[in-house]
Every structure is written in structure tokens, then in C-alpha cells.
Symmetry: C2
Subunit: 444 residues, 2 copies
């Protein structure tokens, strides 16, 4: 049988890796897929660079529409990124009856509903393993491996840049700005790192996982997104003393009022495997009612790790595209009618309704009765305390200091309730600086 | 569309879990699979107990052949276990045109070639996610998620009983026999624990992973199988002091001479996530040339975790059974012709040809020159030393002792070479007891 012909749109880091791995392992891949898979056409604005990557024998064009219009092409890989032209091209490829593979988390998290509906109507597959956690087959695990389960929650380190920064901050006791510059120098952070450090990238990925796990539409606009830019080295240190590490987590969770979807820094118990995921690595923990807790770990970015996911999608399409389209693995794990039905029953809950526990750091006057005043306000609101760490004033502010840090870990409480109490605590004359509040996730 | 009808052979722990989870999550599962999946018939020797589990509305019979003969049944789940009647029934179900789901690692590791050939000829699927690492979707990750890769090696904690025993030995400093009794009391070890503690169960699972990873036939008869019964508490302690933990690993690895397939205790660096997998949990590390190192963690046994894998297979069959049988996901990841072709190119290598590093413990006379004599014999054979730990005689044998322990970590060496040298070292008059030799895997 003749090889499947693939057209590649955008041959940067991931595209080059895809081309290289597909060539290097072509024999093994053919033995797995049952037929050859060949990139026969590439579109890139930089035609010369693209030609240098693919060499002779592959047609390189500057206009992506030439690839889509080619009737020989069975599958289009979109590696352009962003919401703009990528969206138009993906929809055109679908309209032309091509299967699509994409690593574009931003596009799918925002426009997934429209794209998957178009693909479903046309009977083509849109595969996106590479969009979440790079080479880790987490989409496959959620969509196919854990189908028996009512998924309870997912918590993941799904952005390598921020995990690298947090690991360095902890290891070296440095603050955020210093480490960010180091990360940029080493290539772990981009020149404009906003999407990574503000949590947007992680929120795109968490949005996709929430849809697949719970059978709801992608709803990036309803995600709570908080980055790591305000994290202080001292909070990482205090957390460590209390037996926790701070990680930027993408969390989605089934709760009484719907589905939580949130990205923010969180304290994680040091003994959890997730807390020990260091550097630029990714890991996702999935809890299902039957399977319990499972974890998936690996490289979340990079040329060949991401290419590994792109090619796995190519093989999947080769193996499965002949299956009955009404039953074939649905794009978002659930069949479209079920997703529509769930939308009302499973709304994304506002942050004020989220129930979790908290780390609080208060800069207070070093005087009698402060702890009592703070804890009694918490107690009045029904917030119970798990642990308190009170520092010696001398240690915190130097010899003769009249200020100290009070660190409080709470038990589970409704975030709205906590916020109200914290406003009152903030008003106490002994509280000398804005209260630092970081969520704590036990993941048990 | 009418629900797929499933017949269940053997309703013990996993069978009951499968029935329960399929009922509890039936709506979600139907929304994922695109149609209902129902167990409508159960065969078990203990008809009364089976009836008590499934209640009214499900036909319970004592003879499995009644299930296989029922033309209404689309899929047969085999949860009887063992090589005997299970083999006959699986082959009969295939011959009757039923898809088969099984958790039977022993059966597939020994008779997989015959069973998969029969299924291929008949055009039915045989799914076995539950056979390896319980609820962790590791078969799916290897067979579908990592298809881009030339897999380099796999190392897994794939037997919960032995991992529980090793965790307890380390935590409490107890020896094997004591902990085994404790494990039996707690239900973590069976009354006859031979298959677990001698490494046979892990070898069945490693055999299946080796076939899927490398495209070779299942060859349990060529696996090297070594259990944990000879492990001493003191080796766990010394390993800890050197920065390692001892785990029973199932390993399969691509090497210059073919494929390694071995189960044995091994030192693993304490900083690796795999070393921190405690209690009855399972975890598998997979290294591929494109993706790098990935890890999959979760419960490797138990009623509902294993049921999670069985049901995932049912959903897979529902979604995929209409795909072209020539391209549909192959049972062992590779198409049968490729597996046949690889058999000659990728033989299982004998242990004497395995290259790895070692932990050696020598009980020696506490006298000058012993270390020099031992290390010069190693050096003559080209074996270089990574670390040496020499204990004070008093610490080892008590006040006035004239014996001590010499612990040596080697760099990589061919096992056959090491064995020859160790025979010579054993002959030294200063070496007072049989040398303890445990393999060391850096997993980097």
C-alpha cells in the first residue's frame, strides 16, 4: 500500500524534529503503522531554511494553501502556532477533507469547539497529543486509557519554563527576576516569556485536559490564570520548612458545584512524586474513581519530545482513520451530544467557590497577642488551622527587629470565605504588609 | 444502537470490580464509547457467589462454553488466569469470532504468539491492558503513545507485592522472611507467594513489554528471572548509605547484541522518581530515542484499578473494531510480518552478555592489603570501580571483630567478565563468605 502523504505547515523547532524522527525511525514506524508515512510537502515562510532542513525530494512552498490544495496530501500537520492564520488553515484543511495534527494548544483551548465540530461534520480526525505536556502521552491516557473512570481531578506541572524557574529559585535561594534572566540565557525561557510565566500556556493545556476528562467544552475564557511572577524566594523557603514545595499547577477538578479550572502556584507536600519533578520536566497526576491516582512524567517541550507526540498522532490516524466515524475515538473523549448536555450540568465554578487549603504569610509587629487576634478572626469564619510557623523577629528582620513573619497553613476552606476574612485581617494594625496567600494542594 | 454485549469468564476480585465500575460509570462510559457496554452473561464455577455479585438480569452459568457459544455476546472477558483452561477458552472465543479482553499475563507471555496469530487470522481483537501494571495504561503508551520512537529501554516496578516487601524492609530494617509474613497478613502477598517473590509475575509482564517495545515475539522462556528472597536487610542499608535504593525491576533493553530481558533486584539512585515509588505501587520508566525518559505510575493491582484497564479495553474495542483489520492497532504494536523478521535480528541476549554495573559486598578478614588484592583482580579484568565503602570491623562484627564488610560499586562491565573475576576473588583466603552481587541500574 502506498505511504500516507503528509503536508507540514511550519518547520521550526518541532517541525524539524518531526521530519528528522520520521526519517530516522521510518522503518519501525512503518512496521507499527502498517504502511509508510512520509512528509512530502512543506510550507514555510522561510523557504530557503525549510529546504535546508528537508533536502531534495520534498516539495517546499511558501504558501500553506498549496499544501492544503494538493489532493495527494492525506494529513496536514499545523505547527505555525497562535490563533490567527493557524485557525484559518486548520479549518481549510478540514474542509478539504484532510486529517489534521496540531501542537497548537492556544488555538484548541480557545477555538476547539468550532474546530472539532467542523472535523466531526467532515468525518476527519484532528489529533493534538503534542499540545499538552510534549512527549508524554497524556491526551491518550485521558481519552482512551482511563475511559472506565469518573475522573475526580487532574493536577499537572505542564509548563517547563516555570518549573525550571521554580526549581532554580529553590535550589539557589534566588528570586524570580534573577532566575528568569538565567532561564532566558539558557534558552529555557523565551525573550517574551509572558505566556509561560503568567500561566497562560499552562491554562491552555489545563483547558484541554478539563474538556477531555469531564466531557465539557473547552472554556479557556473561564479558567482562573495566575503565574509565578509574584513568588518570593522566602515563601519557597518557608514552604520547604513546612514540608512543601511550590509548583505552578494546572488543576481541573470535579466539585459539588461543577468543574474547577485553575492555574496558579501551589504548595505540594514534598513527599509526593509531583513535588520532586525538577527542572524543565512535566508531570500530570490524574485521579479516577476506579484507578485511583496515576502519574505521567516526561519532557514537556523540545524538538524531538514534541515530535514524538506529533508522529504518534500520525500513526494513530493511519491505524484508525478507517474506523466507523460514529464510534471512532472522539476528539475530546466524549461524543459531541454528551459534551453539549454536560455543559449546563458541569459549569466552570468561580474561584470564590473553590474549596482548598492555604499558605498565608503575614508580616506582623513582634508583639503579644498578634497570633491570637489573627487566628480568632479565622476561627470566627470557621477556618481551621493546620500549622503555624512563627519566626523570631531577629531572624527575619535582623538584630533588634520589631517585625516578624507569621506563617499559617489552613485546612480546606471556601476561597470566598477566606478572602473576606483576609480583608479583615489585613486591617489589623499589627499587620504591616500585604498578606501573601498561596493555595496548598495535598493531592491525596 | 444496541449496547455491546459482554460475557465475563471468572468473577473474582477483578471480575467483580469490572462489573461494579461498568455499572457505576455506565453513563460516562457510554458517552465515551458511543454506545452502551453491558455484561449480560457471567460464567463462574461458583454460580451462587457469581449471582450474589451480579444480581438479577444477568445470566450466570457454570460452564464458560455457554458464554462463548452465545451468538449475542460480542466480547469475552477472560479473568480465570493461568495457562490451562484459560488458554483453551480464549482460543475458542477467538474461533467463535469474539473479541477478547484478558488480564492474563502468564497466558500471553507464554502462549501469546499462538493466541495473537489466531486472533489476527480471525480478524478479532485481543486486548490486555490489565495484564501489565494494573490500572496504569502502559500497554497503550508503548503500543500507541510512543510509536515515533526507537525504544531504548524499559525498567519497571511491576510487582506490587515485592515492592511492598522491599519498602517495608527498608523502612523498618527488617529481613525478608519477617516482612513476607506481615505482607501475607495484610493481604499484600498470597498464601503461596512464589510467583511474586521469585520474580515470575514481573517476568511475565516484562516479556509482554519487550515484545511491544521492540517488535519481537513474546519469549518468556528466555527471560532471566531472579526474585528478592535472597536479599539481606544489610544490603538495603549499605545501598542507602551509597545513595541507592533496591527495587525489583523488570528490564528490557536494546543492546548491541539484541534485546535484554531480565527481572532481578537492582540498586537505583535514590534521586530517581522510580526509587521513590513506595509500597504496593507500580511504575514503569520508558526511554525512547525521540521522547527521552518518560514514567508511568499508579496502582498495579487490586479490584477497581485492574477493572479500569479491563474496561478501557472494552471501550477501545467498541471504538476501533470497525477499523480496517490490516491497519488497526496491532496486538503487539508491530505488524506480524515485522515481528517475524525481527526475531532473528533481535535475539534475547544471554545474561553473560549483559553490560551493567554492580554492587558487591564481600565479608573479608580485617587485615592490611585485602582491598588492594580484590581491586587489582578487578582491574586486571578491565573492571573499573565507581565507589568503595569499607566498614570498621567493630561496627560490623562488634567489639574486637576481625572481620569486616567491603562494599564495591563497579562501573559498567560485561556480566560474564564479572562472574569470572568474582570466582577468582571468592578464592582469596581473606574473603570469608560468599560474595553478594546485586546489579545497579543508573537509569539515565
Amino acid at each position: 500500500m502506498k505511504p500516507l502523504q503528509v503536508g507540514l505547515l511550519g518547520i521550526g523547532t518541532v517541525g524539524s524534529g518531526t521530519f528528522k524522527v520520521l526519517q530516522r525511525n521510518q522503518e519501525e514506524i512503518r512496521h507499527r503503522a502498517g504502511r509508510g508515512i512520509e512528509i512530502t510537502m512543506v510550507a514555510d515562510l522561510d523557504v530557503a531554511r525549510a529546504k535546508a532542513v528537508v533536502g531534495e525530494g520534498v516539495k517546499v512552498v511558501g504558501d500553506a494553501r498549496e499544501v492544503i490544495a494538493n489532493p495527494q496530501i492525506d494529513i496536514v500537520i499545523e505547527l505555525i502556532g497562535g490563533y490567527g492564520v493557524a485557525k484559518t488553515l486548520v479549518l481549510e484543511a478540514i474542509a478539504a477533507g484532510k486529517h489534521v495534527v496540531t501542537a497548537n494548544k492556544a488555538l484548541l483551548a480557545v477555538h476547539g469547539t468550532e474546530i472539532f465540530a467542523a472535523a466531526h461534520a467532515k468525518g476527519v480526525m484532528v489529533a493534538f497529543e503534542a499540545a499538552v505536556a510534549g512527549g508524554i502521552p497524556i491526551i491518550k491516557a485521558l481519552r482512551e486509557g482511563l475511559t472506565a473512570n469518573s475522573i475526580q481531578w487532574i493536577a499537572g506541572i505542564i509548563n517547563g519554563t516555570t518549573n525550571f524557574i521554580l526549581s532554580e529559585m529553590r535550589d539557589k535561594g534566588l528570586d524570580f527576576d534573577t532566575v528568569l534572566k538565567e532561564a532566558q540565557r539558557l534558552g529555557y525561557a523565551e525573550a517574551d516569556p509572558t505566556f509561560d510565566i503568567e500561566g497562560v500556556d499552562a491554562a491552555h493545556k489545563a483547558t484541554l485536559m478539563s474538556a477531555i476528562a469531564f466531557g465539557i467544552p473547552v472554556q479557556f475564557d473561564k479558567a482562573h490564570v495566575e503565574g509565578i511572577t509574584k513568588l518570593a524566594a522566602q515563601d519557597i523557603k518557608y514552604a520547604e520548612q513546612l514540608g512543601y514545595r511550590i509548583k505552578l499547577l494546572g488543576i481541573t477538578k470535579r466539585s459539588a458545584k461543577g468543574i474547577e479550572l485553575r492555574v496558579h502556584p501551589a504548595l505540594v507536600p514534598s513527599k509526593r512524586l509531583l513535588a520532586n519533578v525538577e527542572g524543565a520536566m512535566n508531570a500530570v497526576v490524574v485521579n479516577g474513581d476506579a484507578v485511583g491516582t496515576t502519574l505521567y512524567y516526561g519532557k514537556g517541550a523540545g524538538s524531538e519530545p514534541t515530535a514524538s507526540a506529533v508522529i504518534a498522532d500520525l500513526v494513530d490516524i493511519t491505524r484508525l482513520h478507517t474506523a466507523d466515524t460514529e464510534h471512532r475515538v472522539p476528539h475530546l473523549a466524549f461524543h459531541p451530544e454528551a459534551i453539549l448536555a454536560n455543559k449546563g450540568d458541569l459549569p466552570i465554578v468561580p474561584m470564590s467557590e473553590v474549596v482548598t487549603s492555604y499558605y498565608l504569610r503575614l508580616r506582623v509587629a513582634d508583639e503579644a497577642g498578634v497570633l491570637a487576634r489573627v487566628t480568632s478572626l479565622l476561627a470566627e469564619a470557621g477556618i481551621s488551622i493546620d500549622a503555624v510557623l512563627q519566626r523570631e523577629a531577629d531572624e527575619v528582620g535582623g538584630e533588634g527587629s520589631t517585625q516578624t513573619d507569621l506563617i499559617i497553613l489552613t485546612h480546606d476552606t471556601r476561597e470566598g470565605t477566606l478572602d473576606e476574612v483576609l480583608a479583615r485581617v489585613q486591617g489589623l494594625p499589627s499587620v504591616l504588609a500585604p498578606i501573601v496567600r498561596i493555595r496548598k494542594e495535598e493531592l491525596s
